[in-house]
């Protein structure tokens, strides 16, 4: 049994992360605290930075030097990291950034939220870029996705984001850790390590000629297209005969799963699509639904992922939304009520057609 925040830390160490730069903010503090204890034991480096801005720039430096580097924060702090994430992506530097999302905007609250979905899935900082974004729904998945995040970051030389919230960060669940990452970290001949026996290396994102910057951006976009093709991940639960498909990720997916059981017991044909990658968004399963007559998106926000759901179904199905925000977690009862409401409307509609 392990706390989610600490499980991320141990998984990062298994993945070969030896540089962690943190800054306190609730609800992720157990992660930097864990790294402060554990990293020195494995010959790693923990630095508590003066700000989230400094922490992400320390990550930028360590990643430029070829290390597997990580930082974590929560929503207001992740806003501050966006400058650095843009530079990391522009310079094609790998790193992992954890966001234990809390209610916003502004200082907001400290309770669970999913209101950073837009920020996470649209790049977040300035310029044309994307980051691979995972949304975990259990402590075991935090472990697995952390290890995969380092792997994917190195493979695509791009920052990877891991999103969860205070519930997942602080809950204790059993978790199994592999002994080593599935792949050894790749060689990084581009890293700045001192130009010894090779031409010097340069890590830079200043490209003053528009045609060259345009070419650079299209090359990055080609990489993002590959990520879209290869890395999209989701979980399906009883979608085959579902007339109503609920889309939810992270903590909200757990709530929906509880509501789903109750709905099925009442004979309602409801299924769940749980995106595991938030970007790239799993549009494919929504495009090949056969029996579905409506989609319901449930989020802890005023409606962000629902826009990706609408883009995916392209108007072929009505898309409903149910959201709680500001740190309020929806209950299975609330979700079940909304499911029944929509199921009722569908039945009425079917009756009307007869």
């Amino acid at each position: 049994m392990m706390k989610g925040n600490e499980a991320i830390g141990e998984a990062a160490i298994v993945a070969g992360c030896r540089c962690f730069f943190g800054y306190p903010i609730t609800p992720q503090n157990e992660l930097p605290e864990y790294m402060a204890r554990r990293l020195p034991e494995v010959g790693g480096v923990f630095v508590q930075a003066e700000s989230e801005v400094a922490a992400i720039n320390m990550v930028y430096g360590a990643a430029a030097a070829g290390a597997r580097a990580m930082t974590s924060s929560s929503s207001p702090g992740v806003s501050l990291k966006q400058e650095g994430i843009s530079y990391l992506s522009a310079c094609e530097l790998p790193c992992v950034v954890v966001n234990m999302v809390r209610g916003g905007p502004g200082l907001g609250g400290i309770q669970p939220a999913q209101s950073d979905y837009f920020q996470a899935t649209r790049g977040g900082g300035h310029g044309d870029y994307r980051t691979l974004v995972y949304g975990a729904a259990s402590v075991q998945e935090l472990v697995d996705l952390t290890i995969e995040a380092f792997d994917a970051a190195d493979r695509y030389r791009n920052p990877v984001l891991l999103l969860a919230d205070g519930i997942l960060g602080q809950m204790m669940e059993p978790a199994v850790f592999p002994d080593s990452p599935p792949l050894p970290p790749p060689a990084k001949p581009w890293a700045v390590t001192g130009a010894s026996g090779r031409p010097r290396n340069l890590i830079n994102s200043l490209i003053l000629q528009p045609d060259m910057l345009e070419a650079h951006n299209w090359r990055l976009m080609e990489k993002f297209r590959q990520i879209e093709e290869r890395e999209v991940r989701w979980e399906e639960d009883q979608l085959d005969d579902a007339e109503l498909v609920v889309v939810a990720y992270g903590t909200t997916a757990r709530v929906v799963r509880a509501a789903l059981g109750a709905a099925r017991r009442e004979g309602l044909k409801v299924g769940l699509l749980r995106p595991i990658t938030l970007w790239p968004f799993p549009a494919q399963p929504l495009r090949r639904l056969k029996r579905a007559r409506a989609v319901l998106t449930v989020e802890m926000s005023t409606g962000q992922m629902v826009e990706d759901v609408r883009l995916a179904v392209e108007g072929r199905l009505p898309v409903q939304f149910y959201g709680r925000t500001g740190g309020v977690v929806p209950t299975p009862r609330e979700v079940l009520a909304r499911i029944k409401e929509i199921a009722g409307e569908l039945a009425q509609e079917a009756g009307g057609r007869k």
Partner: protein, 248 residues
Amino acid sequence: MKQVFGRPRVLNDVVMHYCPGCHHGVIHRLIGEVVDELGIAERTIGIAPVGCSVLAYNYFNLDFVQAAHGRAPAVATGIKRALPDRVVFTYQGDGDLAAIGTAEVVHAAMRSERITVVFVNNAVFGMTSGQMAPTTLVGQKTTTTPWGRDARVHGHPLRVAEMLAALYGPAYIARVSVHTPAQVMKAKKCLEKAFRTQLEDRGFSMVEFVSNCPTNWGLSPLDSVRWLEENMLKYYPLGEFKLPEEVA
């Protein structure tokens, strides 16, 4: 025939973009000479700032990273902590280091990161065309202080060397200039001490160069040197503000 003078090995044979009379070129050369003489080129990593000297990465044949505005000391921290046996230096102007990057340099100094900061203070934002910097002198005209810096509106200029020397962390802090041949020689000695401070693992080191900006000061190169001597050096006295015992 014995060659007694030439371009430092780590300086590339390229035309620099700096304006005529600007001191960046001299300061680059001094870094090149010190890196050559210490024999550390193959394990040195430089960090370029945002500002006039952003293109420094084109002039040094060294591994280089370009950092976001003001963040060079944090980037240097990341590199040095990942690779503690390398030599890491930042090259930063006063807009970069003393305005947007104040927190980063103060905390790198406080932690006594084993890095060397080369700080070039010419009392204006140069690349963005001469706006007021935190280091702009009271009364000095800039594009954002068209009637001269008014201390009641913008306060008094920041003395970075004195500020950092007041901290426990730094090992070596000096302020130098390169406006006369004698000062160039002194500046080189200080720069060498700063790099030696890092090589001997004594702590954070910074050399502040009181520099010029003929273009944005609206002066000829020669007049800019006179102005520097008569105005800058009064407010920014030269000297060593902090020394580790053995380096002193």
